[in-house]
């Protein structure tokens, strides 16, 4: 009888037994291959596979490098490189080279030259040089305003979402009041009161960006705070702020990163608009928005004067938006990697 039962067991070992040595190795080896599914490396890899996002990433990188170069030259070297390599007879309205068209085109003022490949403006300044140095303002304003707005929004939104109740009502209603006021009017009022300066413009814009991030992260936090690991953290004696910093914010962060990338584009547009109205960068600081404003009077004799800064803004904003879209696709677990998610899970 005993031998008979032994035979049955031996003939189908897999079905009846979990062999003793496997007791502590429940993990199936295939599962470990999923290790590349998370992290910055994986996200960048995903973006690289997406052609559109990759092009956006290249454009953004080039603009960033240009802006970093311009910043270094302007802040650290006091325009040494610019004066050595870029020809620009500043404050010379009688310059014979004013209002030149780009290379290869002739207009009423003369013929395009190799020295000014994109032409010159009404004061004879090289447009390419001003575009390059103007990128500094746009990128700086876009990145810093987004960063400040994001930081403020994350703090307000996560606290509101985590505590809920009265604190939530107070913070969110306060934040939403900002939405009720037309933003351009608000910024202009703010700057009229505090002063016209690029830094003040950035602060004003970042205050207006705060509600976007606050609302976004609050909605994420509302679901994250119900997760068991948040309760486990409470049960193991963490302070509220530790829970918010360590558990709630990191798990709500993906959508914020996407939003931030998209936001940089619209803030660049907003700052350019402010500069156009005269509230952003002040002369003689080169800035794309201010260049557009200057070019208004020369649309007929030299349309190129306004085309170049317009194109620069367009390309930058579109590139940031493309990267934002790509990032969203890469970070959203329901897109593309959903099939991998289901494999090899217990």
């Amino acid at each position: 009888m005993a031998s008979e039962s032994k035979d049955t067991i031996d003939s189908r070992p897999g079905e009846l037994f979990v062999p003793a040595e496997e007791e502590y190795s429940v993990d199936n080896p295939d599962e470990m291959d999923n290790s590349e599914d998370v992290g910055i490396k994986y996200t960048i890899l995903q973006i690289k596979e997406d052609t559109t996002a990759r092009i956006g990433l290249y454009i953004v990188s080039i603009i960033m490098i240009v802006a970093i170069y311009a910043t270094i030259d302007a802040q650290l070297l006091d325009y040494a490189i610019a004066e050595r390599f870029w020809y620009h007879p500043e404050f010379d309205p009688d310059s014979p080279e004013a209002n030149l068209p780009p290379i290869g085109i002739t207009n009423a003022y003369g013929e395009g030259t190799v020295a000014h490949p994109l032409g010159t403006d009404h004061r004879g300044r090289d447009i390419l040089a001003r575009l390059v140095y103007g990128s500094r303002v746009s990128i700086q304003a876009g990145v810093f305003a987004t960063f400040i707005g994001m930081a403020g929004g994350i703090i307000i939104g996560s606290v509101a979402g985590y505590y809920g109740g009265r604190i939530d009502d107070l913070l969110m209603r306060g934040i939403e009041t900002l939405y009720a006021i037309p933003f351009l009017v608000l910024i202009i009022a703010f700057m009229s009161a505090v002063g016209r300066d690029l830094v003040i413009a950035m602060v004003a814009v970042s205050i207006l960006t705060t509600p976007v991030f606050a609302r976004l992260i609050r909605s994420e936090v509302l679901s994250v705070r119900e997760m068991a690991y948040v309760e486990a953290a409470r049960a193991s004696g963490l302070r509220d702020y530790q829970i918010i910093l360590r558990h709630v914010i990191p798990n709500s962060f993906a959508s914020v990163v996407v939003q931030a990338t998209l936001q940089i584009g619209s803030i660049i547009l907003l700052i350019a608009g402010l500069s156009f109205l005269g509230f952003g960068a002040q002369e003689p600081t080169p800035d794309w928005g201010a260049m557009l404003a200057d070019s208004r009077g020369f649309l007929l004799p030299n349309p190129w004067f306004s085309v170049w800064p317009g194109l620069a803004i367009l390309i930058t904003v579109v590139a940031f938006n493309i990267v934002g879209d790509g990032l969203r696709d890469a970070l959203d677990p329901y897109i593309d990697n959903s099939q991998k998610e289901d494999e090899g899970r217990i």
Binding site: V18, E23, Y24, S25, V26, D27, N28, E31, M32, N34, S35, D37, V38, G165, M227, A228, Y229, E231, A232, A233, R234, A235, S236, G237, L238, R239, R246, H247, P250, N251, R345, I346
Partner: protein
């Protein structure tokens, strides 16, 4: 030493103040946990087991609130009330404040293991860092020592190659492995009591068996007490020393595990035991408990189980029976008037089924 009561819960009441009315999720629950023993809390979904567990660490969120009773852990009062001169109830002055409870009790003295291992680990941080953080928080050690302890604890719960798996993320672990990590986290601060809220429910039986063995080994080693919450009678039989059976926010039977399985007295416990398959008895069909548990907003009058009780008599409608001792030491307690001579249970007539349904009224879902 074995008789040391470390946790004592007396008449605990936790209510939820919802727009639909007051939900009496826990309504007068009393039990003790002694040093080194495993106490089971068993019942259907919605019986109030998890809320009882959360109440012990004061983790109940609004709209829930602990409204009455007393929870004492060693000599510290986790929750208590006293009556003012004018008859209103206020917090007891000896009750621990939030800060002390957080730093001295949660995690360090009483740890908790949650039901869903998939959900209980933060997906964005490495496993090892999560264990290490907890040790740093609750034990007076340096970061480096904490890492050593974390690796040692991970090894102890049977995670192979803990030095390398230390820096893996939760999604790289299977469900059973994650539950081991959670057990490691619970044990890592060497608490006196671990509250386990259905920790094996989400696992398959093979893994469940391994986890139960692991917990038993670790418990023996560290002499940790357990409050083990489950709806699985098999787990109770496997692991627990004493058992509390809950029904609709109340404990209806308390006994040690042998008495409960061999000599259940409450009709609900009897019905529970009848509804699980047994390897030693062959029957055509299992005999499940009829009906569903009524809502806790408006519980049935009298005995709360009478709507589903096979032995319900008319007298059951009159009083909600308290727990009475069946022996002198009050080791086996049951809340049923069948065992109390004075209630007139045997004199009153049996409830008819139609009558029962009528009484159920709106409570019947």
């Amino acid at each position: 030493m074995k008789e040391n009561i470390i946790l004592s819960v007396k008449d605990l009441e936790t209510h939820f103040f919802t727009s639909g009315g007051i939900v009496r999720a826990v309504d007068g629950v009393s039990f003790n946990v002694k040093s080194g023993e495993t106490v089971g809390l068993v019942g259907e979904s919605g019986a109030g087991k998890s809320i009882t567990a959360r109440s012990i660490l004061r983790l109940v969120d609004s709209p829930g609130q602990i409204v009455g009773g007393e929870i004492t852990f060693h000599d510290q009062m986790i929750f208590g009330t006293q009556e003012r001169a004018d008859g209103t109830i206020e917090r007891h002055p000896d009750m621990l404040d939030d800060e002390t409870l957080r730093t001295q009790i949660r995690g360090s003295k009483i740890a908790m293991i949650f039901q869903d291992p998939m959900d209980s680990l933060n997906p964005v941080f490495k496993i090892g860092d999560q264990v290490r953080e907890l040790i740093e928080l609750n034990r007076d050690v340096t970061k480096y020592e904490a890492k050593e302890i974390a690796i040692e604890t991970l090894r102890e719960v049977g995670i192979p190659d803990p030095e390398n798996r230390y820096s893996d993320y939760p999604h790289e672990f299977s469900g059973g492995m994650r539950q081991r990590v959670l057990i490691a986290m619970a044990f890592s601060c060497q608490p006196d009591l671990i509250i386990a809220d259905e920790p094996t429910t989400a696992l398959d039986v093979t893994v469940e068996g391994e986890i139960l063995n692991l917990v038993r080994d670790l418990q023996k080693k560290y002499n940790t007490s357990f409050l083990w919450i489950t709806h699985d009678m098999a787990v109770i039989a496997e692991l627990c020393d004493r058992v509390n059976v809950m029904y609709l926010g109340e404990i209806i039977e308390q006994a040690n595990v042998y008495d409960l399985f061999d000599d259940a007295h409450h009709p609900y416990t009897e019905a529970l035991l009848k509804s699980i398959p047994r390897p030693d008895v062959s029957i055509e069909k299992l005999d499940p408990i009829t009906g569903v548990m009524p809502g806790a907003i408006n519980p049935p009058q009298g005995c709360r189980f009478h709507t589903r009780c096979p032995d319900a008599h008319r007298a059951c409608l009159d009083t909600n029976p308290p727990l009475i001792g069946l022996d002198e030491n009050e080791q086996h307690n049951v809340a049923c008037i069948k065992y109390d001579e004075r209630t007139g249970y045997w004199e009153s007539e049996e409830l008819e089924n139609e009558e029962r349904n009528q009484i159920k009224g709106i409570n019947n879902v």
